[in-house]
Symmetry: C2
Subunit: 203 residues, 2 copies
DNA sequence: CCTACCGATCGGTAGG
DNA sequence: CCTACCGATCGGTAGG
């Protein structure tokens, strides 16, 4: 029996479980993430792992939360110093491409993976993934709209179409990198972005 | 005990299993496709189902083969009467969009789903999916190259970039339709294609 | 946080 | 093609 841990130690253990869980889920999906494997890889018992979350579904929701925090840190946060409008939008996209290129998670983009996994299902886990997806596209729309309103993009820009094109480029980048393991993918992605956003350094 | 069946009946049973298996796998993935569920939904015993394939892996490979045949029937075959070059390429893309729009499988595009599922894994199943993916992109490249050589597309067209852009549009279409359930997706996809391929009806 | 369980389900086999 | 199994693993619980 392990001795009872302090609050800070408990929180640290929870983080370790979630960080490892995010890595596993990026490869195996959120259903393929099993409590038994998570226990083995953190050196705990299954009951020890489950004690932090109660149910597998709560664990899945906590992993989604963890993924959202990592994404926020890696992409939108890195663009916050750029001037609102096209420069900010470009900075966001460059941080996004760079994140997918570096691919800190072994299975590539967590949200792309679990969106595909849960697209045919329903329930709280799907809803949580969808909520993050909506939040992110809303942020992209705001950047595009701003770029239009300050005159960096043409007045007649279709904002939703623009967001679709950005998302398409990133979905393809993740697909070509992770599935096809084609390193040229980031070149293609940057060229596609260049077509949408123009030359970096110019307005 | 069921009486022994004729060869034609056996083949028919195998087809029924594979058709149902493809539907299940489009939603649950190829790992989530279980022999028990497949048996229940075809009114057979697990041993009866497994007898047709031997192992789950063989079943998975047979489902991939079935999916490839369905895709070939629905997309490239429907474009074979169009003139080689840009008209053929446009016909292929229109059949592709239409296929994703109609979405005969409950989980959307089978290959998109399983590519995401297996991108972090290795083995014969991943290899089979990758082989189909390669075959299809090779066909797309041939159409693009032909469109360039007959003068329908500019001489300096980057063929691989062009294929990347087509795939990006289709991945996004499937994502927006299946995950976001956004019916406007096909409008966005067709506009993106229009930008790449020009106005249908014109060379 | 552990050990020691639970019923359900997994892929697969034996034997007919 | 079936019934009747097998060991392994699933999510989860009891009790400490």
């Amino acid at each position: 029996m392990s001795p009872r841990k302090s609050v800070v130690e408990t929180r640290h253990t929870r983080r370790r479980i979630l960080d490892r869980g995010l890595e596993i889920a990026s490869v195996e999906g959120l259903e393929g993430l099993t409590i038994g494997r998570l226990a083995a890889e953190t050196g705990m018992s299954k009951a020890g792992v489950l004690g932090h979350f109660g149910t597998k579904e709560s664990l899945q929701l906590a992993v989604i939360e963890t993924a959202a925090e990592a994404f926020a840190r890696e992409v939108p946060q890195r663009a916050r110093d750029a001037r609102p409008g096209l420069p900010r939008l470009r900075a966001v996209c460059e941080a996004w491409v760079s994140y997918l290129e570096r691919s800190p998670l072994p299975g590539g983009c967590f949200f792309t993976a679990v969106a595909a996994e849960f697209d045919g299902r329903s329930g709280p886990v799907r809803d949580a993934i969808a909520a993050m997806n909506t939040l992110w596209q809303r942020e992209l729309r705001i950047h595009v709209r701003r770029a239009v309103s300050v005159g960096d993009l043409p007045e007649d820009t279709d904002v939703d179409q623009f967001v679709y094109d950005l998302v398409a480029t990133m979905l393809a980048l993740n697909h070509f990198l992770q599935f096809q393991r084609d390193q040229r993918a980031s070149t293609y992605a940057r060229r596609a972005l260049h077509r949408l956003l123009g030359k970096p350094g110019h307005v």
